[in-house]
Symmetry: C2
Subunit: 220 residues, 2 copies
DNA sequence: TGAACGAAGGTGACCTTGTCACAGACAAGG
DNA sequence: CCTTGTCTGTGACAAGGTCACCTTCGTTCA
């Protein structure tokens, strides 16, 4: 087993005592698609992602989904912090592994001890919290004030690798908080303008600058 | 001048040293309508509301507004915590006094000292943070998955005093994150069903149970 | 091998929301 | 009075969400 503490930059500032305490924990392997938690689950501990990517979704009545945020290596999950520190200790969102991942789960008592004893750990949790909150406010702004077209363009720009985005239209819809049908129609509109080409399970980007211009047109 | 620390329950658990430190600060009087901060302002300190009510809005391109959360006595502002602890130190939202209010502003250095030295203060800031985050997620859920009709009904139920809601339709629109015209039409629909009666600057509630049923119809 | 099934994507119809433009109603002060 | 600014109502239209249903692919498995 690798020394996961040394391999995780965000943990490097922790005190030696904290590292010792955490050293006893075993990383878990989580396959792509694994459910970390669902709405209503109890909070049993504080997960830290070591590798991979976990996505946290809100699910609405009609089955529509909205990506709240993604957790990447070294980051922590706010939903959990919320449960461990605040009032109600259950989740209101759903977390799924977007890729194969490894994570540790810090049990609640250990978490509380670290919070009280290690300023570096506090700092870690706090800045994670602050960043998430900022992200949530930006998300709020995008979802309620920006057009779907604009959000879609921004998404395509961000997720593109070698001019391609590997994702089904349903997935894209969940990421930007709209319905699949709308994504289908918007992508079609982009395609007719010659900006993209759609395939089953992927979108090929032809005119990235045009998309970027559109993404920036409506404010941030 | 009254002893504002003793009068604020949420501060009672602080250590004597913290109280001494805070005792030197002078409460500020803020009239209704006063602007606490605007987008782009720098974060100079950590405000704690002693009395009154402060509302924090997000403002979109077309001038549309959305109430993110309200700060009530003993509570603190997350936007600020975010600025003091996280990366970027400027606000992305706007805070207005909804009523005449009193507040203290804890200067940044004092805030940071208290965070490191007083577990009770930490607890205070942290739970405030956790509660806000929970509230933001609920807001997200309402704004992106619930109909305007439902949100409006819920708002009327919550804000009613003696069967009346004192607010202009513009204010209501900002509170539930929609456009004024839409509020006008929805209220009209409620009125035709005999549930409310509208006046200039107020809404009288006639059939509260009907509204409550509608508010609960689409999940929380 | 080919029938069947399920996931992904396309489309039309329809309703709800948001936007724009503008008009009437009302309150407070000159 | 008359004016001015705020509050409210309305029609027309565009954008987005929902529903129903169909087509097109891959995969599986009998």
């Amino acid at each position: 087993m690798t020394d996961w503490i040394a391999d995780t930059p965000s943990l490097s500032a922790l005190s030696p005592a904290s590292k010792t305490r955490l050293g006893a924990l075993q990383p878990m392997a989580l396959p792509r698609g694994a459910v970390i938690f669902r709405p209503g689950d109890d909070v049993t501990g504080f997960p830290v992602i070591l590798s991979g990517r976990v996505e946290v979704f809100l699910t609405g009545a009609g089955g529509r989904e909205l990506l709240l945020y993604a957790v990447e290596p070294g980051q922590t999950c706010v939903q959990t912090t919320l449960g461990l520190l605040g009032g109600d200790a259950s989740y209101s969102a759903e977390a799924l592994c977007a890729t194969d991942s490894r994570a540790i789960l810090i049990p609640r008592p250990v978490f509380l001890t670290l919070m009280d004893s290690d300023p570096a750990f506090r700092q870690l949790v706090f800045t994670a919290f602050a960043e998430r909150m900022g992200g949530m406010i930006q998300l709020m702004e995008r979802v309620s004030f920006q057009s779907v077209e604009c959000r879609l363009a921004a998404f395509l720009c961000n997720r593109a690798e070698n001019g391609r985005v590997q994702a089904t239209q349903s997935e894209i819809a969940a990421q930007i908080g709209t319905a699949r049908e709308v994504v289908s129609r918007r992508l079609d509109a982009f395609a007719r303008r010659g900006w993209v080409r759609t395939e089953r399970g992927a979108v090929e980007i032809i005119d990235a600058p045009a998309l970027r211009r559109l993404a920036l047109a409506e404010g941030l």
